[in-house]
């Protein structure tokens, strides 16, 4: 289980990285944290001719809050985001999801942008980005594009990034005090990829739900927004009955994949359970955050 041969390139600037991508396009893979790519290489399931290691591009790491949005550079390590006060205060959904990603030693290296660019439909961060309508900034030789989350995830491990483009940063709308979140999942073991996961963000105003965002992981080849559930929730007061109805609506049309860990039917069932539990958790979190101002 050894990595195949590849040409190794380690650009130090964004410009150099983009130049290399323009040169090699499909022949290249971008190495960020490597926590998904290196296993694929070790299993020889990925065999890029060129590996472009962006870990030396310091401009790609960073996390900032401005104009109501939190911008996270693609190379920001997951542990850094986990430790960030900005994330804790203004991105409660991301804060809830980060500790569920693998294990501590994975988050030491793994990057926020790397996970989103890898686009695993069972991973936590894609569901978070979709739920929050994050925007993705990519840059290539021909310039910069801004892509909304629903357009970013195109298929299994496939995103809207073109082979000659680099994901530069991801922008998340910052949450106010009335917004609470939860990330719940069913995984075989602590730290495993979820069989099904759910990102939930709820905003409460005067005891009623004014904004609801739910995205499921593990139920399709891309993360899936539970729009039918959201529609049911808006304007209502949180209650078990309401959450049950949201779960029914959201799972009615699901057609999840099956694998060793769960059939389609199983995934549908636990998606409903997670929606009930996730909404309860997010509502409680919203009340708490409101109380703490």
């Amino acid at each position: 289980m050894k990595l195949p041969q590849f040409d190794y390139q380690a650009p130090q600037t964004i410009a150099e990285a983009i130049e290399l991508l323009a040169k090699y396009e499909d022949d290249a893979s971008v190495l960020a944290g490597g926590q998904s790519l290196i296993p694929l290489l070790a299993l020889r399931l990925a065999r890029p001719a060129v590996l472009i290691d962006i870990n030396g591009v310091s401009d790609l790491a960073g996390l900032s809050l401005a104009h109501g949005q939190v911008t996270i550079g693609t190379l920001t390590r997951e542990y850094r985001a986990e430790e960030s006060d900005v994330v804790a205060d203004r991105l409660p959904l991301l804060a809830a999801a980060l500790p569920l990603i693998g294990h501590a030693a994975i988050r030491s290296r793994g990057t926020v942008g790397g996970s989103l660019a890898h686009g695993d439909p069972a991973a936590e961060l894609p569901a978070v980005a979709l739920a929050l309508d994050a925007t993705f900034v990519v840059r290539g030789a021909t310039g910069e594009r801004i892509i909304k989350a629903p357009d970013w995830f195109e298929g299994y491990l496939t995103t809207a990034r073109r082979p000659d483009e680099l994901l530069i940063e991801v922008r998340f709308p910052a949450a106010g005090p009335g917004t609470g979140a939860s990330f719940v999942e069913v995984a075989r073991r602590h730290g495993d990829f979820a069989i099904v996961g759910l990102a939930t963000s709820l905003t409460l105003a005067d005891g009623r739900i004014s904004d609801a965002r739910l995205a499921l992981a593990g139920v399709s080849d891309v993360p899936v927004r539970a729009a039918e559930a959201e529609d049911v929730l808006i304007g209502e007061q949180p209650s078990a009955a309401l959450f049950g109805e949201a779960a029914r609506r959201a799972t009615a049309g699901l057609d999840p994949p099956a694998d060793l860990h769960g059939s389609a039917d199983y995934r549908t069932k636990i998606a409903a359970t997670l929606i009930r539990r996730g909404l309860r958790g997010a509502a409680d979190n919203a009340s708490e955050r409101q109380a703490n101002g």
Partner: protein
């Protein structure tokens, strides 16, 4: 860091293995690095069942860094044909499938090795493998026991003519017909045990180093016994025994996998001889999961004859075992399953028959308690019957366990239940778990929608087993040991045991230090060198009695010899001498003390003429003395989330009797580790194949082992009830946890799901299956 104790045996002495292990100074086989060493990788079949039409290795041979490539046919020319060395070692006498070390004409499982590439690095060897082109003609896969039983299935081995590897003819013990005739109730159950596997953290591996000058094959192995490995090399490489030297250092776990020498290791040895350079093969995790071997996968049709009061009067059992592709121990399993099936119960009649089949899966290897399914079936059946009769799981066992009597009750299959304390362990575990209090808590929790369950199960383990009339207690025979007092005063024990986590170097030193009268640090235990150690094998939980016993008696022999020698020097009768704290002295005269080190030095340095034996070395052998059983009762409390199917083990209690404890911390480590594997088997681990024989669990993302979040604290209480032997009452404890944890957990899960009327006839219960069982029960009611 000297370790001092009044008496070492019975105390949780810190392990002498640990200082090296905790500092990274352990030496595992992959740490061996020899000058000029090459690295091997195998080209493996992507198909479960196929004819090999052609193999082209030219591109691989041309790759810079690749030193040699050998196809299966070439390896065949370089080795001696014959049976699997391990099967030969176990003395199996059934029909023998014909096959080659590496596949030649045919592949029989995904991962079957067809060629070996030897290169300057493992990276390059794998690059070479990528360049080997093999053309296959696919055959219909035999991917299940049901397929194998179909006479139309294409036989894996042409010379067997079918996929029936072995029929174990029906045997009856007691009056089976009468038991069923007098039964109030007769129940039929079909019970499945799923395939799972050893997965030691270190895979298999070796460094084979053939020296063309001396014609000696030095073989660094990860093995459970250097001599068993040596036998295989002698057999299949055709090298004289005195030209094979097998060495083993630290071994990263095994659990039955590393008995003997594998096909891959033999191919690496053949390659080393051919290229006259050392060749290392380190099994990677993909190879380990796919091709090293797997275990279990038996199904049972059980008829149970029962009285209305819950007395189990008779069992009639038919087993089918899926032994996978190449022969290992699967075909030999039926005999021991049959022997152990009655367990510690009064069962008076039993019929048993079995069929072993070959399929296109990994070979069936020994895995911690290879016969464990007998316990699963029996303990599951008892609970199923208890449900039907409205009995408590403790009550039905209480009714059926054979109480301790003199003379002891005899299992219907023949062996006496000497010193078996199952009843005591059951009563104690019931007390510790406090069943009435649990039932109240369970009822309260159910009102809140929480589903708790409790399960118990009992087992006995022949470790080594009671003394038989006609031979040693342990079926693998006598245990040998060489012992000597070195010139530096250290008592050295040479054992053929090959510890791979069991702490043998510590526990043998404890016994020898006490028996000889020297400090713990003045004992050294030598393992892992075929030129130095006597024949032996770590396995079958034989160590405690057999090796502990030979260490005790051998040390006694050595001590007598040392005292005899000392008596000449000290000019007193040996009977008047004693050894304590490393000093030899005349009883009643502390002034007379001479250090053992001094006596040893003198023995090593001097010539004492005839009549004085200064060769302070002995060879000892031990037959197991009175032998005896290990056993006990386990109890689990679980909570099932009936909305997700996730199971958490809240509490796990063990009451266990393995006789006298040599080192309680070591014993408890063995029990906890076994229980963890059993919990893993039920909740997480499965070696999964699809209908085409494609292996589905080839990475650690798919083969899931329990982690620190999955295993609870395991409470252990030791019973040391019945001394059977004047000196040696240690009994083996390596396998029991793994044997009894699966039924304990499944029984608890069924109890948790009793409001739904769920009945469980299988061993593997991942969350998705739990929800299916609930749905099925709901539909049925």
């Amino acid at each position: 860091m000297a370790i001092v104790a009044e008496r070492y045996t019975g105390a949780s002495i810190r392990r002498s293995e640990d200082p090296r292990i905790l500092t990274g100074a352990g030496r595992y086989v992959d740490d061996v690095k020899l000058p000029g060493m090459l690295h091997a990788a195998f080209v493996r079949s992507p198909l479960a069942h196929a004819q090999v039409r052609s193999i082209d290795v030219s591109a691989a041979r041309d790759l810079p860094g690749v030193v040699a490539v050998f196809t299966g046919a070439e390896i065949e020319d370089m080795t001696v044909p014959g049976p699997d060395p391990l099967v030969a070692f176990f003395g199996d006498t059934g029909p023998t499938p014909e096959f080659t070390l590496l596949a030649t004409d045919k592949v029989r499982l995904v991962g079957d090795p067809v060629a070996i590439v030897v290169a300057e690095s493992r990276y390059l060897a794998e690059d070479g493998c990528d360049l080997v082109e093999v053309e296959y003609d696919e055959l219909a896969p035999v991917a299940s026991a049901a397929a194998a039983l179909d006479p139309a299935s294409p036989p894996l081995f042409a010379n067997l003519g079918s996929n029936i590897a072995r029929e174990h003819p029906r045997a009856e013990f007691g009056d089976v017909a009468a038991a069923f005739a007098q039964a109030d109730r007769v129940f039929d159950f079909h019970i499945d045990v799923h395939r799972h596997q050893n997965v030691p953290m270190e895979g298999r591996g070796c460094v084979a180093s053939y020296d063309p000058q001396t014609a000696v094959m030095t073989f660094y192995a990860a093995t459970q016994g250097v001599h068993v490995t040596k036998m295989g090399i002698v057999m299949r490489l055709g090298i004289e025994p005195d030209k094979v030297h097998v060495l083993a250092g630290d071994i990263g776990g095994s659990f039955g996998l590393k008995i003997g020498v594998s096909r891959e290791e033999l191919a690496a040895a053949a390659a080393s001889r051919a290229v006259a350079r050392p060749v290392k093969w380190t099994e990677d995790r993909g190879e380990n999961l796919t091709a090293s071997g797997q275990a279990r996968e038996e199904s049972f049709d059980v008829r149970a004859a029962v009285s209305n009061d819950g007395d189990l009067l008779g069992l009639d059992v038919r087993m089918v075992v899926d032994t996978g592709s190449y022969p290992s121990m699967g075909a030999m399993l039926a005999g021991i399953v049959q022997a152990m099936l009655p367990g510690p119960y009064k069962l008076a009649a039993m019929g048993f028959e079995a069929t072993a089949v070959t399929t296109n899966k990994a070979p069936y290897v020994a895995y911690r308690g290879p016969w464990a399914s007998e316990t699963f079936v029996r303990e599951r059946v008892l609970d199923l019957i208890a449900h039907e009769l409205g009995l408590d799981p403790v009550e039905i066992r209480r009714r059926n366990i054979a109480p301790r009597t003199e003379p002891p009750a005899v299992m219907v299959t023949g062996r006496p239940l000497v010193g078996v304390t199952t009843m005591e362990s059951l009563e104690r575990v019931a007390e510790l778990a406090d069943f009435p209090a649990f039932r109240r808590r369970q009822a309260a929790a159910r009102i809140e929608g929480r589903h708790l369950g409790i399960g118990v199960a009992t087992f006995i383990e022949a470790a080594p087993g009671p003394r038989s009339q006609d031979g040693p207690s342990d079926p693998e025979g006598m245990e040998a040991m060489r012992l000597r007092l070195d010139g530096d005063g250290v008592v050295v024990l040479f054992t053929g045991q090959m510890p791979h986590g069991q702490s043998h170097q510590t526990t043998l030193a404890q016994i020898a230090a006490d028996e000889f009268g020297v400090p713990f640090d003045q004992v050294r235990v030598v393992v892992g060198d075929s030129d130095l150690v006597p024949f032996g094998l770590t396995g079958g939980s034989r160590f405690a009695t057999m090796t502990g016993g030979v260490a005790l008696h051998g040390t006694r022999q050595l001590k007598a010899k040392v005292l005899d020698f000392a008596s000449h020097l000290m000019e007193v009768s040996a009977q008047d001498l004693q050894i304590t704290d490393g000093n030899i002295w005349v009883r009643g005269d502390p002034e007379s003390a001479i250090a053992v080190t001094e006596i040893a030095r003198q023995a090593a340095s001097g010539d004492f003429g005839p009549g004085v034996d200064a060769n302070l070395e002995v060879e000892a052998a031990y037959d197991g003395g009175a032998g005896g059983w290990s056993g006990g009762t386990h109890c689990a409390i679980v909570e099932v989330d009936v909305e997700t199917g996730l199971v958490s083990v809240e509490r796990y209690i063990v009451t266990e009797d393995c006789g006298a404890l040599i080192n309680p911390a070591v014993v408890e480590g063995q029990i906890r580790g076994g229980v963890a594997q059993g919990i893993g088997a039920v909740l997480l681990e499965r070696s999964a194949y699809d209908e085409f024989g494609n292996f589905q669990s080839a990475t650690f993302m798919d083969y899931l082992m329990p982690t620190a979040c999955d295993i609870p604290r395991i409470e252990i209480e030791h019973l040391e009830t019945v001394p059977l032997d004047a000196d040696v009452n240690f009994r083996g404890v390596g396998e029991g946890g793994m044997i009894v944890a699966p039924p304990t957990i499944v029984n608890a899960i069924e109890d948790a799901l009793s409001p739904f009327g769920v009945r469980i006839y299988e061993q593997h219960l991942p969350p998705a299956r739990i929800l299916e069982l609930i749905s099925m029960a709901r539909r049925a009611s």
